[in-house]
Protein backbone atom coordinates (compact mmCIF):
# COMPACT_ATOMS: atom_id res chain seq x y z
CA UNK A 1 0.00 0.00 0.00
CA UNK A 2 1.04 3.55 -0.57
CA UNK A 3 -0.11 6.34 1.73
CA UNK A 4 -0.07 10.08 1.36
CA UNK A 5 0.71 11.82 4.63
CA UNK A 6 -0.68 15.34 4.59
CA UNK A 7 0.86 17.89 6.89
CA UNK A 8 -1.57 20.48 8.28
CA UNK A 9 -0.03 23.14 10.43
CA UNK A 10 -0.42 26.80 11.35
CA UNK A 11 1.72 28.49 8.73
CA UNK A 12 2.09 31.58 10.90
CA UNK A 13 4.55 29.58 12.98
CA UNK A 14 6.88 29.72 9.97
CA UNK A 15 6.43 33.40 9.10
CA UNK A 16 9.90 34.43 10.28
CA UNK A 17 11.64 31.40 8.82
CA UNK A 18 11.83 27.77 9.87
CA UNK A 19 12.81 26.87 13.39
CA UNK A 20 16.26 25.27 13.26
CA UNK A 21 15.49 22.64 15.89
CA UNK A 22 12.35 21.56 14.15
CA UNK A 23 14.08 21.50 10.79
CA UNK A 24 16.68 19.17 12.28
CA UNK A 25 13.83 16.97 13.48
CA UNK A 26 12.51 16.80 9.93
CA UNK A 27 16.00 15.81 8.82
CA UNK A 28 16.07 13.01 11.37
CA UNK A 29 12.57 11.91 10.37
CA UNK A 30 13.71 11.75 6.74
CA UNK A 31 16.66 9.55 7.65
CA UNK A 32 14.70 7.26 9.91
CA UNK A 33 12.08 6.51 7.24
CA UNK A 34 14.30 6.89 4.15
CA UNK A 35 13.26 3.48 2.86
CA UNK A 36 9.54 4.27 3.20
CA UNK A 37 9.52 7.84 1.93
CA UNK A 38 8.90 8.05 -1.83
CA UNK A 39 8.85 11.83 -1.96
CA UNK A 40 7.91 14.89 0.00
CA UNK A 41 8.14 18.66 -0.14
CA UNK A 42 7.38 21.72 1.87
CA UNK A 43 4.98 24.19 0.28
CA UNK A 44 5.23 27.96 0.13
CA UNK A 45 2.59 29.68 2.34
CA UNK A 46 -1.08 29.91 1.29
CA UNK A 47 -0.54 33.55 0.24
CA UNK A 48 1.13 32.12 -2.88
CA UNK A 49 -1.82 29.83 -3.66
CA UNK A 50 -4.11 30.03 -6.68
CA UNK A 51 -7.33 28.04 -7.12
CA UNK A 52 -8.43 26.83 -10.54
CA UNK A 53 -11.89 25.58 -11.50
CA UNK A 54 -13.45 24.80 -14.86
CA UNK A 55 -17.20 25.32 -15.21
CA UNK A 56 -19.11 25.03 -18.50
CA UNK A 57 -15.77 24.85 -20.29
CA UNK A 58 -14.67 28.18 -18.81
CA UNK A 59 -11.61 28.43 -16.65
CA UNK A 60 -11.98 30.36 -13.39
CA UNK A 61 -8.75 31.36 -11.69
CA UNK A 62 -8.86 32.96 -8.25
CA UNK A 63 -6.39 34.22 -5.71
CA UNK A 64 -6.03 32.19 -2.54
CA UNK A 65 -6.13 28.60 -1.30
CA UNK A 66 -8.94 26.10 -1.66
CA UNK A 67 -11.61 26.95 0.91
CA UNK A 68 -14.62 24.73 0.34
CA UNK A 69 -15.61 22.40 3.14
CA UNK A 70 -17.91 20.16 1.12
CA UNK A 71 -15.05 18.95 -1.10
CA UNK A 72 -12.28 16.74 0.17
CA UNK A 73 -8.69 16.20 -0.88
CA UNK A 74 -8.76 13.38 -3.41
CA UNK A 75 -5.29 13.25 -4.92
CA UNK A 76 -2.35 15.26 -6.13
CA UNK A 77 0.10 15.75 -8.99
CA UNK A 78 3.56 17.17 -8.61
CA UNK A 79 4.41 18.89 -11.89
CA UNK A 80 7.30 20.79 -13.42
CA UNK A 81 6.16 24.03 -15.09
CA UNK A 82 8.01 27.11 -16.29
CA UNK A 83 5.70 29.53 -14.50
CA UNK A 84 2.29 29.90 -12.88
CA UNK A 85 0.47 30.22 -16.21
CA UNK A 86 1.80 26.86 -17.34
CA UNK A 87 0.89 25.27 -14.00
CA UNK A 88 -2.64 26.73 -14.19
CA UNK A 89 -2.96 25.42 -17.74
CA UNK A 90 -2.13 21.89 -16.57
CA UNK A 91 -4.35 22.17 -13.49
CA UNK A 92 -7.33 23.16 -15.63
CA UNK A 93 -6.95 19.93 -17.64
CA UNK A 94 -7.31 17.67 -14.57
CA UNK A 95 -10.83 16.17 -14.90
CA UNK A 96 -11.67 17.06 -11.28
CA UNK A 97 -11.27 20.75 -12.16
CA UNK A 98 -14.69 20.52 -13.82
CA UNK A 99 -16.38 19.39 -10.61
CA UNK A 100 -14.14 20.44 -7.76
CA UNK A 101 -11.15 22.73 -7.36
CA UNK A 102 -7.45 22.42 -7.98
CA UNK A 103 -5.20 24.36 -5.66
CA UNK A 104 -1.90 25.35 -7.26
CA UNK A 105 0.91 25.92 -4.77
CA UNK A 106 4.59 26.45 -5.51
CA UNK A 107 7.06 24.25 -3.65
CA UNK A 108 9.42 25.70 -1.12
CA UNK A 109 12.98 25.40 -2.36
CA UNK A 110 15.57 25.23 0.41
CA UNK A 111 18.78 26.93 -0.68
Amino acid sequence: MKYLLLIYDNEQRWEKGYDKMELAEYGAFGKEFASAIIGGNALKPTATATTVRVRDGKRLTTDGPFAETKEQLGGYYLVEAADLDEAIGIAAKIPAARHGSIEVRPLMIFA
Binding site: D63, L84, I88
Partner: protein, 411 residues
Protein backbone atom coordinates in the same frame (compact mmCIF):
# COMPACT_ATOMS: atom_id res chain seq x y z
CA UNK B 1 12.38 73.95 -17.66
CA UNK B 2 11.01 70.41 -17.46
CA UNK B 3 8.08 69.67 -15.15
CA UNK B 4 9.41 66.55 -13.42
CA UNK B 5 6.11 65.65 -11.72
CA UNK B 6 4.36 65.61 -15.06
CA UNK B 7 7.16 63.70 -16.68
CA UNK B 8 7.04 61.15 -13.86
CA UNK B 9 3.30 60.67 -14.27
CA UNK B 10 3.58 60.39 -18.04
CA UNK B 11 6.64 58.16 -18.30
CA UNK B 12 6.57 56.10 -15.11
CA UNK B 13 4.67 53.12 -16.53
CA UNK B 14 6.71 52.78 -19.68
CA UNK B 15 10.09 53.15 -17.98
CA UNK B 16 9.07 50.78 -15.19
CA UNK B 17 7.75 48.17 -17.63
CA UNK B 18 11.05 48.18 -19.42
CA UNK B 19 13.12 47.93 -16.24
CA UNK B 20 11.03 45.02 -14.95
CA UNK B 21 11.59 43.28 -18.27
CA UNK B 22 15.34 43.82 -17.98
CA UNK B 23 15.77 42.82 -14.33
CA UNK B 24 12.81 40.53 -13.67
CA UNK B 25 12.19 42.18 -10.32
CA UNK B 26 9.40 44.69 -9.70
CA UNK B 27 10.82 46.03 -6.43
CA UNK B 28 14.29 46.54 -7.85
CA UNK B 29 12.82 48.29 -10.88
CA UNK B 30 10.65 50.59 -8.75
CA UNK B 31 13.47 51.52 -6.37
CA UNK B 32 15.91 52.22 -9.18
CA UNK B 33 13.44 54.32 -11.12
CA UNK B 34 12.60 56.31 -8.01
CA UNK B 35 16.33 56.97 -7.54
CA UNK B 36 16.66 58.05 -11.15
CA UNK B 37 13.87 60.61 -10.71
CA UNK B 38 15.49 61.79 -7.47
CA UNK B 39 18.79 62.18 -9.34
CA UNK B 40 17.02 64.16 -12.05
CA UNK B 41 15.73 66.62 -9.46
CA UNK B 42 19.30 67.28 -8.37
CA UNK B 43 21.09 67.20 -11.69
CA UNK B 44 18.77 68.62 -14.32
CA UNK B 45 18.35 72.08 -12.80
CA UNK B 46 20.02 74.21 -15.43
CA UNK B 47 20.50 71.87 -18.35
CA UNK B 48 18.07 68.97 -18.69
CA UNK B 49 19.06 66.22 -21.13
CA UNK B 50 17.70 66.26 -24.66
CA UNK B 51 16.16 62.85 -24.21
CA UNK B 52 14.81 62.75 -20.64
CA UNK B 53 13.26 59.28 -21.04
CA UNK B 54 16.55 57.72 -22.11
CA UNK B 55 18.42 59.58 -19.37
CA UNK B 56 16.01 58.29 -16.72
CA UNK B 57 16.08 54.77 -18.10
CA UNK B 58 19.87 54.69 -18.37
CA UNK B 59 20.31 56.12 -14.88
CA UNK B 60 17.79 53.71 -13.33
CA UNK B 61 19.53 50.87 -15.12
CA UNK B 62 22.87 51.87 -13.61
CA UNK B 63 21.34 52.04 -10.14
CA UNK B 64 19.77 48.61 -10.56
CA UNK B 65 23.08 47.13 -11.74
CA UNK B 66 24.83 48.64 -8.70
CA UNK B 67 22.27 47.04 -6.45
CA UNK B 68 22.48 43.56 -7.91
CA UNK B 69 26.28 43.54 -7.87
CA UNK B 70 25.96 42.95 -4.14
CA UNK B 71 23.72 39.95 -4.54
CA UNK B 72 24.41 36.26 -4.95
CA UNK B 73 24.09 34.99 -8.52
CA UNK B 74 24.56 38.54 -9.77
CA UNK B 75 27.00 37.56 -12.50
CA UNK B 76 24.47 35.27 -14.13
CA UNK B 77 21.83 37.99 -14.15
CA UNK B 78 24.15 40.74 -15.34
CA UNK B 79 25.47 38.71 -18.25
CA UNK B 80 21.92 37.95 -19.39
CA UNK B 81 21.03 41.65 -19.35
CA UNK B 82 20.07 43.06 -22.75
CA UNK B 83 22.50 45.79 -23.83
CA UNK B 84 21.54 49.44 -23.71
CA UNK B 85 23.21 52.00 -25.93
CA UNK B 86 24.66 54.50 -23.46
CA UNK B 87 24.87 57.14 -26.18
CA UNK B 88 21.13 57.61 -25.74
CA UNK B 89 21.92 59.30 -22.41
CA UNK B 90 23.41 62.26 -24.22
CA UNK B 91 21.55 61.89 -27.48
CA UNK B 92 19.98 64.86 -29.12
CA UNK B 93 16.37 64.76 -30.12
CA UNK B 94 13.47 63.21 -28.27
CA UNK B 95 13.91 59.61 -29.36
CA UNK B 96 11.26 57.67 -27.48
CA UNK B 97 12.33 54.36 -28.99
CA UNK B 98 15.54 54.37 -26.97
CA UNK B 99 13.51 52.79 -24.15
CA UNK B 100 11.62 49.63 -25.13
CA UNK B 101 7.92 49.67 -24.26
CA UNK B 102 6.99 46.61 -22.19
CA UNK B 103 3.75 47.95 -20.72
CA UNK B 104 1.57 45.30 -22.32
CA UNK B 105 3.42 42.63 -20.33
CA UNK B 106 3.08 44.78 -17.24
CA UNK B 107 -0.69 45.16 -17.72
CA UNK B 108 -1.19 41.41 -18.00
CA UNK B 109 0.99 40.68 -14.99
CA UNK B 110 -0.74 43.29 -12.81
CA UNK B 111 -4.18 42.03 -13.84
CA UNK B 112 -3.34 38.35 -13.42
CA UNK B 113 -6.38 36.43 -12.12
CA UNK B 114 -4.20 34.70 -9.51
CA UNK B 115 -4.07 38.07 -7.73
CA UNK B 116 -7.08 39.34 -5.79
CA UNK B 117 -9.05 41.97 -7.65
CA UNK B 118 -8.11 44.58 -5.03
CA UNK B 119 -4.44 43.77 -5.60
CA UNK B 120 -4.88 43.92 -9.39
CA UNK B 121 -6.39 47.40 -9.17
CA UNK B 122 -3.75 48.69 -6.77
CA UNK B 123 -0.82 47.29 -8.76
CA UNK B 124 -2.17 48.63 -12.05
CA UNK B 125 -2.64 52.14 -10.67
CA UNK B 126 0.75 52.10 -8.97
CA UNK B 127 2.92 50.65 -11.73
CA UNK B 128 1.17 51.76 -14.92
CA UNK B 129 -0.69 54.85 -13.75
CA UNK B 130 2.22 56.06 -11.64
CA UNK B 131 -0.12 56.98 -8.76
CA UNK B 132 1.52 57.01 -5.35
CA UNK B 133 0.56 54.47 -2.70
CA UNK B 134 -1.01 57.32 -0.69
CA UNK B 135 -3.15 58.44 -3.63
CA UNK B 136 -4.43 54.92 -4.24
CA UNK B 137 -5.12 54.44 -0.53
CA UNK B 138 -7.07 57.70 -0.44
CA UNK B 139 -9.13 56.73 -3.48
CA UNK B 140 -10.12 53.38 -1.99
CA UNK B 141 -10.66 54.70 1.53
CA UNK B 142 -8.07 52.55 3.23
CA UNK B 143 -5.11 53.63 5.37
CA UNK B 144 -1.87 54.11 3.40
CA UNK B 145 -0.20 51.35 5.43
CA UNK B 146 -2.94 48.90 4.40
CA UNK B 147 -2.49 49.81 0.74
CA UNK B 148 1.30 49.52 1.06
CA UNK B 149 0.85 46.04 2.60
CA UNK B 150 -1.50 45.07 -0.23
CA UNK B 151 1.11 46.07 -2.82
CA UNK B 152 3.90 44.27 -0.97
CA UNK B 153 1.82 41.07 -0.78
CA UNK B 154 0.85 41.25 -4.45
CA UNK B 155 4.46 41.66 -5.51
CA UNK B 156 5.48 38.80 -3.22
CA UNK B 157 2.89 36.54 -4.85
CA UNK B 158 4.12 37.50 -8.33
CA UNK B 159 7.63 36.56 -7.26
CA UNK B 160 6.92 33.47 -5.13
CA UNK B 161 4.31 31.85 -7.39
CA UNK B 162 6.23 32.85 -10.55
CA UNK B 163 3.46 34.80 -12.26
CA UNK B 164 5.09 35.39 -15.66
CA UNK B 165 5.90 38.76 -17.20
CA UNK B 166 4.54 38.30 -20.68
CA UNK B 167 1.59 38.75 -22.98
CA UNK B 168 -0.56 35.59 -22.72
CA UNK B 169 -0.69 33.02 -25.51
CA UNK B 170 -3.55 33.25 -27.99
CA UNK B 171 -5.50 30.48 -26.19
CA UNK B 172 -5.45 32.34 -22.89
CA UNK B 173 -5.82 35.82 -24.33
CA UNK B 174 -9.64 36.15 -24.19
CA UNK B 175 -9.81 35.16 -20.52
CA UNK B 176 -6.83 37.28 -19.55
CA UNK B 177 -7.97 40.27 -21.58
CA UNK B 178 -11.37 40.19 -19.92
CA UNK B 179 -9.59 40.24 -16.53
CA UNK B 180 -7.64 43.34 -17.61
CA UNK B 181 -10.80 45.04 -18.83
CA UNK B 182 -12.59 44.20 -15.58
CA UNK B 183 -9.83 45.96 -13.63
CA UNK B 184 -9.97 49.06 -15.84
CA UNK B 185 -13.76 49.18 -15.57
CA UNK B 186 -13.53 48.79 -11.80
CA UNK B 187 -11.16 51.77 -11.62
CA UNK B 188 -13.55 53.79 -13.77
CA UNK B 189 -16.59 52.85 -11.70
CA UNK B 190 -14.78 53.59 -8.48
CA UNK B 191 -14.29 57.11 -9.81
CA UNK B 192 -17.71 57.42 -11.40
CA UNK B 193 -20.13 55.79 -9.01
CA UNK B 194 -18.46 56.20 -5.65
CA UNK B 195 -20.46 58.16 -3.13
CA UNK B 196 -17.27 59.07 -1.31
CA UNK B 197 -14.01 60.86 -1.98
CA UNK B 198 -13.40 64.32 -3.31
CA UNK B 199 -14.81 65.27 -6.70
CA UNK B 200 -11.29 65.93 -7.98
CA UNK B 201 -10.06 62.50 -6.99
CA UNK B 202 -13.01 60.69 -8.51
CA UNK B 203 -12.52 62.55 -11.77
CA UNK B 204 -8.86 61.66 -11.87
CA UNK B 205 -9.70 57.96 -11.39
CA UNK B 206 -12.09 58.12 -14.35
CA UNK B 207 -9.44 59.89 -16.40
CA UNK B 208 -6.83 57.35 -15.35
CA UNK B 209 -9.09 54.45 -16.39
CA UNK B 210 -9.71 56.08 -19.77
CA UNK B 211 -6.01 56.68 -20.36
CA UNK B 212 -5.12 53.12 -19.38
CA UNK B 213 -7.80 51.75 -21.70
CA UNK B 214 -6.45 53.90 -24.52
CA UNK B 215 -3.00 52.56 -23.76
CA UNK B 216 -4.23 48.94 -23.74
CA UNK B 217 -5.95 49.55 -27.06
CA UNK B 218 -2.90 51.04 -28.75
CA UNK B 219 -0.53 48.35 -27.40
CA UNK B 220 -2.86 45.55 -28.51
CA UNK B 221 -3.06 47.22 -31.89
CA UNK B 222 0.70 46.79 -32.25
CA UNK B 223 0.70 43.05 -31.60
CA UNK B 224 -2.68 41.81 -32.89
CA UNK B 225 -4.04 42.13 -36.39
CA UNK B 226 -7.17 43.72 -34.95
CA UNK B 227 -8.03 45.21 -31.56
CA UNK B 228 -10.78 43.04 -30.00
CA UNK B 229 -14.15 44.77 -30.33
CA UNK B 230 -14.80 44.59 -26.58
CA UNK B 231 -11.77 46.81 -25.89
CA UNK B 232 -13.20 49.50 -28.18
CA UNK B 233 -16.58 49.05 -26.52
CA UNK B 234 -15.10 49.47 -23.05
CA UNK B 235 -13.37 52.69 -24.07
CA UNK B 236 -16.62 53.89 -25.66
CA UNK B 237 -18.57 53.06 -22.52
CA UNK B 238 -16.17 55.04 -20.34
CA UNK B 239 -16.09 58.01 -22.72
CA UNK B 240 -19.88 58.16 -23.03
CA UNK B 241 -20.47 58.06 -19.28
CA UNK B 242 -17.62 60.43 -18.52
CA UNK B 243 -19.03 62.90 -21.08
CA UNK B 244 -21.81 63.61 -18.56
CA UNK B 245 -19.43 64.41 -15.70
CA UNK B 246 -20.19 68.17 -15.55
CA UNK B 247 -23.97 67.75 -15.84
CA UNK B 248 -24.42 64.95 -13.32
CA UNK B 249 -23.34 66.90 -10.27
CA UNK B 250 -25.43 69.87 -9.14
CA UNK B 251 -24.18 73.16 -7.71
CA UNK B 252 -24.32 71.81 -4.15
CA UNK B 253 -22.58 68.57 -5.10
CA UNK B 254 -25.74 66.48 -5.34
CA UNK B 255 -26.23 63.86 -8.02
CA UNK B 256 -28.48 64.96 -10.90
CA UNK B 257 -30.53 62.15 -12.50
CA UNK B 258 -30.05 61.48 -16.21
CA UNK B 259 -33.57 62.76 -17.02
CA UNK B 260 -32.89 66.05 -15.28
CA UNK B 261 -29.39 66.77 -16.57
CA UNK B 262 -28.63 69.86 -18.64
CA UNK B 263 -27.58 68.05 -21.80
CA UNK B 264 -25.89 71.14 -23.23
CA UNK B 265 -23.18 70.52 -20.62
CA UNK B 266 -22.35 67.08 -21.99
CA UNK B 267 -18.91 66.74 -23.58
CA UNK B 268 -19.76 66.49 -27.28
CA UNK B 269 -16.25 65.55 -28.41
CA UNK B 270 -16.18 62.60 -26.00
CA UNK B 271 -19.67 61.53 -27.15
CA UNK B 272 -18.63 61.65 -30.78
CA UNK B 273 -15.55 59.56 -30.12
CA UNK B 274 -17.51 57.08 -27.97
CA UNK B 275 -20.31 56.68 -30.53
CA UNK B 276 -17.84 56.06 -33.35
CA UNK B 277 -15.99 53.45 -31.29
CA UNK B 278 -19.08 51.51 -30.30
CA UNK B 279 -20.46 51.66 -33.82
CA UNK B 280 -17.20 50.21 -35.16
CA UNK B 281 -17.28 47.48 -32.50
CA UNK B 282 -20.88 46.52 -33.29
CA UNK B 283 -20.07 46.24 -36.98
CA UNK B 284 -17.30 43.68 -36.51
CA UNK B 285 -18.37 41.41 -33.65
CA UNK B 286 -21.34 40.09 -31.76
CA UNK B 287 -21.85 42.55 -28.93
CA UNK B 288 -20.63 41.61 -25.47
CA UNK B 289 -21.76 43.34 -22.30
CA UNK B 290 -19.48 46.39 -22.69
CA UNK B 291 -20.77 46.94 -26.24
CA UNK B 292 -24.41 46.72 -25.15
CA UNK B 293 -23.88 49.05 -22.21
CA UNK B 294 -22.00 51.47 -24.48
CA UNK B 295 -24.81 51.29 -27.05
CA UNK B 296 -27.36 52.17 -24.35
CA UNK B 297 -25.21 55.13 -23.27
CA UNK B 298 -24.89 56.15 -26.94
CA UNK B 299 -28.68 56.23 -27.41
CA UNK B 300 -29.00 58.52 -24.37
CA UNK B 301 -26.13 60.68 -25.62
CA UNK B 302 -27.84 61.32 -28.93
CA UNK B 303 -31.26 62.13 -27.43
CA UNK B 304 -32.20 65.78 -26.85
CA UNK B 305 -34.10 64.93 -23.65
CA UNK B 306 -35.64 62.04 -21.70
CA UNK B 307 -39.07 62.21 -23.44
CA UNK B 308 -37.60 62.07 -26.94
CA UNK B 309 -35.29 59.18 -26.13
CA UNK B 310 -35.73 56.02 -28.19
CA UNK B 311 -36.83 53.95 -25.18
CA UNK B 312 -37.87 50.99 -27.35
CA UNK B 313 -34.33 50.67 -28.59
CA UNK B 314 -33.05 50.92 -25.03
CA UNK B 315 -35.49 48.19 -23.94
CA UNK B 316 -34.17 45.97 -26.74
CA UNK B 317 -30.55 46.60 -25.76
CA UNK B 318 -31.27 45.80 -22.10
CA UNK B 319 -33.05 42.60 -23.13
CA UNK B 320 -29.92 41.53 -25.04
CA UNK B 321 -27.71 42.57 -22.14
CA UNK B 322 -29.86 40.38 -19.87
CA UNK B 323 -29.08 37.40 -22.10
CA UNK B 324 -25.32 38.10 -22.19
CA UNK B 325 -25.01 39.11 -18.56
CA UNK B 326 -28.05 38.01 -16.56
CA UNK B 327 -28.18 39.90 -13.27
CA UNK B 328 -30.98 41.33 -11.14
CA UNK B 329 -29.58 44.86 -11.47
CA UNK B 330 -29.62 44.64 -15.28
CA UNK B 331 -33.19 43.32 -14.91
CA UNK B 332 -34.08 46.38 -12.86
CA UNK B 333 -32.70 48.71 -15.56
CA UNK B 334 -34.61 46.75 -18.17
CA UNK B 335 -37.86 47.15 -16.20
CA UNK B 336 -37.22 50.89 -15.76
CA UNK B 337 -36.73 51.25 -19.53
CA UNK B 338 -39.93 49.28 -20.19
CA UNK B 339 -41.75 51.74 -17.93
CA UNK B 340 -40.51 54.60 -20.12
CA UNK B 341 -41.34 52.82 -23.40
CA UNK B 342 -44.65 51.18 -22.58
CA UNK B 343 -45.81 52.72 -19.33
CA UNK B 344 -45.63 51.70 -15.68
CA UNK B 345 -48.29 48.94 -15.87
CA UNK B 346 -46.15 46.93 -18.34
CA UNK B 347 -43.06 47.28 -16.14
CA UNK B 348 -44.58 46.41 -12.76
CA UNK B 349 -44.75 42.60 -13.28
CA UNK B 350 -41.10 42.59 -14.49
CA UNK B 351 -40.16 44.42 -11.34
CA UNK B 352 -42.18 42.14 -9.05
CA UNK B 353 -40.27 39.16 -10.47
CA UNK B 354 -37.07 40.67 -9.04
CA UNK B 355 -38.50 41.10 -5.53
CA UNK B 356 -36.49 38.28 -3.96
CA UNK B 357 -32.95 39.08 -5.13
CA UNK B 358 -33.36 42.85 -4.77
CA UNK B 359 -35.35 42.99 -1.51
CA UNK B 360 -32.61 45.01 0.19
CA UNK B 361 -31.64 47.15 -2.78
CA UNK B 362 -32.89 50.72 -2.33
CA UNK B 363 -33.21 51.39 -6.06
CA UNK B 364 -35.63 48.47 -6.51
CA UNK B 365 -37.94 50.09 -3.97
CA UNK B 366 -37.42 53.54 -5.49
CA UNK B 367 -38.30 52.34 -9.02
CA UNK B 368 -41.33 50.42 -7.70
CA UNK B 369 -42.46 53.52 -5.81
CA UNK B 370 -42.15 55.56 -8.99
CA UNK B 371 -44.24 53.09 -11.00
CA UNK B 372 -46.98 52.96 -8.34
CA UNK B 373 -47.05 56.76 -8.12
CA UNK B 374 -47.46 57.05 -11.88
CA UNK B 375 -50.19 54.38 -11.81
CA UNK B 376 -52.17 56.45 -9.32
CA UNK B 377 -51.51 54.28 -6.27
CA UNK B 378 -50.06 56.94 -3.92
CA UNK B 379 -50.44 55.05 -0.65
CA UNK B 380 -48.43 52.04 -1.83
CA UNK B 381 -45.94 54.41 -3.50
CA UNK B 382 -45.41 56.23 -0.21
CA UNK B 383 -44.57 52.96 1.60
CA UNK B 384 -42.04 52.06 -1.11
CA UNK B 385 -40.36 55.49 -1.04
CA UNK B 386 -40.03 55.13 2.74
CA UNK B 387 -38.47 51.67 2.40
CA UNK B 388 -36.04 52.99 -0.26
CA UNK B 389 -35.15 55.84 2.06
CA UNK B 390 -34.39 53.42 4.93
CA UNK B 391 -32.04 51.41 2.70
CA UNK B 392 -30.17 54.26 1.01
CA UNK B 393 -27.03 55.89 2.40
CA UNK B 394 -26.36 58.31 -0.44
CA UNK B 395 -27.09 61.89 0.64
CA UNK B 396 -28.35 63.20 -2.68
CA UNK B 397 -30.61 60.17 -3.15
CA UNK B 398 -32.02 60.68 0.32
CA UNK B 399 -32.87 64.30 -0.53
CA UNK B 400 -34.58 63.15 -3.72
CA UNK B 401 -36.61 60.52 -1.84
CA UNK B 402 -37.58 63.00 0.89
CA UNK B 403 -38.94 65.31 -1.80
CA UNK B 404 -41.08 62.52 -3.28
CA UNK B 405 -42.35 61.51 0.16
CA UNK B 406 -43.33 65.12 0.89
CA UNK B 407 -45.12 65.39 -2.48
CA UNK B 408 -47.21 62.37 -1.58
CA UNK B 409 -48.18 63.99 1.71
CA UNK B 410 -45.98 61.81 3.89
CA UNK B 411 -43.21 62.89 6.19
Amino acid sequence: MIDLDRLCRAEWGRLLSSLIRAFGDIDLAEESLQEAFAAAVLEWGKCPPNNPQAWLYGTARHRAIDRIRHRARSQELLSSLAPFDERHLQSTGDNHDAVPDERLRLIFTCCHPALSSEAQVALTLRTLGGLTTEEIAHAFLVPATTMAQRLVRAKAKIREAAIPYRVPEADDLPERLSAVMAVLYLVFNEGYAAAHGSELLRRSLCQEAIELTRLLRSLLGLCLSEVPAEVDSLLALMLLHNARRDARVGADGELVLLEEQDRSRWDRAAIEEGCALVQGALERALPGSYALEAAIAAVHSESPNAQDTDWRQIVGLYARLLRVHPSPVVGLNHAAAVAMAEGPAAALPLLEALAAPLADYHLWHAVRADLLRRMGRPREALLCYRRASELSSNASELRFLARRIAELGGS
